[in-house]
């Protein structure tokens, strides 16, 4: 526990109304409901730091100490959940504490809404308190949630607290201890025993576990698997099988995603049940800082990166004197001490910046377009990292799309390069979409003809959903005579006979205000990452008013009414993230390099958004 906050707060302890002192408050407008709390009864006040892991308490008022029996120095630095434990030695939450309320609190906190409700708490001595709780997120001037303010009024709770029968489970003599996945709140294992939960004459009895798991359960979604696991002991045991979750993953997310995850799972010894869960809920998403060795020299900005297996590959950029460079660097994150290595390639493409670099299957990558020494480019080059002497090879095509920079690209099926929009030599913005099938012997650029195109733009992102859909988001888009930041989302299904762009959500007007509370503000040059299951995560980029915005947003386009949600991510976010310098490594980590607001031109300090907990079972 940090010493200094305690000393500071000791001075404020005697003034429970310190929040009303105007000279101290930045821009905290507490609003009407909280005022009512203050007026009705003495209130406990708790402030927690929203940016630290596990939301530690940084302030409690005198009333809190008096009512709960816990002194400030006993609770500072801890998460509030100890109030749900009966007595100071309890390790888990008292069972009568309503889980639904807690879930609702978590949801409100992660989405930035106020929460109001009642819940059961306990004093230090163990006596119960019914707690009327109001939680409000507090934002700084940049709109980032920095603290949560909890205001609580209480009344005594009257109910029987005699030990519930069966609460402490005794291990029965014939029990087989099955390893339990352990839920978010409690680590107490559930002892189960192999029992016959149905009559022996029921035909299901004769269907072997193997058939059940491999042929039936493996076809189900996680939701149905867990529903089945809640039916009886036998099914519960089956759903604890690691190999089942491996099969489920393969089934719901496809072979490609599965293979990528498999190499990560094997290397770090992760449980498949946990992988499926964490990639579904994103509950373990966290920002981490990564220091690597080597350096990218000569230093440059506006380079492009992409991931090849566990490696981050960097190409091009704008070097000193605004000259385009054409170096290729690789950083292997699987190594114990990753460091940037310059690759001596045969015949590098002409130097460029504002290009796109995308990863194909089989350790290959393709670069397209960008701004070169003598103007904009429309050439494409492919590099195979697995070759003993990697060589950039130009893809020769008779006709090509218009030369451009700040376009977006993505790879469909590991083999088809899709390019869209961007800015031309004359400064005009483009709205076209081209596809280059690199499996053909003589690849040909094909324009995807559509009856209606979204407004032309640059700095937008294209993400792939599944095998045949692409999602376009954001960018600086044409709006009449103006160019405004966009928050629009469009999807195209390339398996349809008549391909067309479908509007999904947004403001319908670039630069306009969106109606939903948790929708991301319009932006360009952001990062967009496709998650398994067809969801898209978006963060960073440039938003209006040159504010720094590092909230992470998630969208599921498959929903009936796709709505953006704020994804709560633990840890400290990077101050800036741009699309061209982020990439998804191993299906589980989004690596963010450089950025306009750092001094780090050598690219030795990286940030990564880890989607799952990568600490395995070592």
């Amino acid at each position: 526990m940090d010493e200094s906050p305690k000393k500071e707060l000791a001075v404020r302890r005697n003034t429970s109304s310190h929040l009303h002192r105007k000279e101290e408050t930045p821009s905290w407008h507490l609003g009407a409901p909280v005022d009512i709390f203050f007026r009705s009864s003495p209130c406990r006040i708790v402030v927690v730091n929203a940016q630290e892991l596990d939301h530690p308490i940084i302030y409690v008022n005198l009333i809190f100490e008096q009512v709960t029996g816990y002194r400030a120095d006993e609770v500072l630095g801890r998460n509030c959940r100890f109030l749900q434990y009966q007595g100071s030695f309890a390790k888990t939450r008292y069972p009568l504490v309503d889980i639904r309320i807690l879930t609702e609190i978590c949801r409100c906190l992660s989405e930035g809404f106020d929460f109001e409700g009642e819940r059961l708490n306990f004093r230090k001595g163990g006596s119960p308190l019914m707690n009327r709780l109001y939680i409000k997120p507090i934002c700084n001037d940049e709109g980032i949630i920095t603290h949560f303010l909890g205001v609580q009024s209480f009344k005594e709770a009257n109910f029987d607290l005699s030990p519930l029968r069966g609460l402490v489970w005794k291990k029965s003599s014939g029990a087989i201890h099955t390893h339990i996945l352990g839920d978010m709140y409690s680590q107490k294992p559930l002892f189960v025993h192999r029992d016959c939960s149905f009559k022996k004459c029921c035909p299901l009895y004769k269907v072997s576990d193997e058939v059940l798991v491999v042929n039936i359960l493996a076809r189900l979604t996680p939701r149905d698997v867990t529903s089945l696991g809640s039916v009886c002991h036998r099914f519960y045991n089956l759903t604890k099988d690691e190999s089942l979750w491996k099969l489920v993953c393969q089934n719901i997310w496809g072979q490609e995603t599965f293979s990528i995850l498999e190499s990560v799972a094997r290397r770090r010894r992760l449980w498949w049940g946990k992988i499926v869960r964490e990639l579904t809920t994103l509950e373990a998403a966290a920002w981490r800082k990564l220091t690597v060795g080597g350096s990218v020299e000569p230093s440059c900005i506006n380079f492009s990166v992409c991931a090849v297996g566990s490696k981050v590959v960097l190409f091009g950029g704008e070097g000193v004197n605004m000259q385009p460079v054409n170096d290729t660097f690789v950083l292997d994150l699987n190594e114990d001490c990753p460091e940037w290595t310059h690759i001596n390639v045969n015949s590098a493409p002409p130097g460029r910046w504002g290009h796109t670099l995308s990863g194909l299957s089989d350790s290959r990558l393709v670069v397209f377009g960008g701004c070169g020494r003598n103007g904009l480019l429309n050439d494409a080059f492919v590099l195979d990292l697995d070759e003993p002497q990697p060589t950039w090879r130009e893809v020769s095509c008779s006709t090509r799309p218009l030369p451009r920079s700040w376009h977006s690209s993505c790879i469909l099926d590991g083999t088809k390069l899709i390019v869209s929009g961007g800015c031309t030599d004359s400064g005009a913005l483009l709205s076209d979409t081209f596809l280059l099938d690199l499996t053909m012997e003589k690849p040909v650029w094909k324009e995807i003809n559509v009856s209606w195109r979204p407004p032309s733009r640059l700095g937008h992102t294209l993400s792939v959903l599944g095998n045949h859909k692409i999602l376009m988001y954001g960018g600086l888009a044409t709006s009449g005579p103006l160019r405004l930041r966009s928050s629009d989302v469009y999807i195209m299904d390339l398996s349809e006979e008549e391909t067309r762009w479908k509007y999904v959500t947004g403001s319908m007007l670039p630069g306009g205000v969106s109606t939903c509370n948790s929708a991301p503000p319009p932006r360009l040059d952001h990062a967009a990452v496709s998650l398994p299951g067809g969801r898209v995560v978006v963060f960073g980029g440039s938003i209006a008013g040159s504010r720094l915005e590092t909230k992470v947003y998630i969208l599921d386009p498959m929903e009936e009414k796709p709505t953006w949600r704020i994804l709560y991510v633990q840890g400290r976010q990077p101050k800036y993230a741009s699309g061209h310098s982020t990439c998804l490594v191993g299906g589980t980590r989004v690596v963010v390099l450089g950025g306009h607001h750092t001094e780090d031109w050598m690219l030795t300090e990286l940030h990564e958004l880890c989607l799952i907990n990568l600490k395995g079972t070592d």
Binding site: G166, S197, F198, K199, N215, S227, V231, C232
Partner: protein, 163 residues
Amino acid sequence: MAELPNTTMANECKVKLKSKDDKIFEVEYAVAMQSQTLKNALAHTGCTDTALPLHDISSQILAKVIEYCEYHVNAANTISEKDVKTWDEELVKHMDQDTLFRLIVAAKYLEIHNLVDLMCKTIADRIKDKSVEELREIFHVQNDFTPEEEEQVRRETKWAHGE
């Protein structure tokens, strides 16, 4: 070990199968070959007049298995994939749970992989999006969790239900 029947014999050979309740079924050799188990058995015995006993399979289920195999032995060459799929769907459309499960056990024993697949896919489709209570109905299973265990399981599985 008896010799394998040659092609001409195979065309004339009829395989006899005896169900649990002592009913005899006669099928074409090619139909029986759909079952890996029967294939192996016949490789040992050759074409014989003795009925192969299937102790665990009732006549009702065996009739269904034979119906499936008889259709599919012809379907491979002559009928379109789409039509085969439609036929399969019709077969299982109104099949009750018990029959489905018994068929799985029989098909697994006889090693008729396509039939196992079809049955399991049908069950998986019936499980989709069902509540826990409905699943207990479908599987005729009693709840053998204590209330505390049930609460624990519910907490552990909340994540998959979008909570």
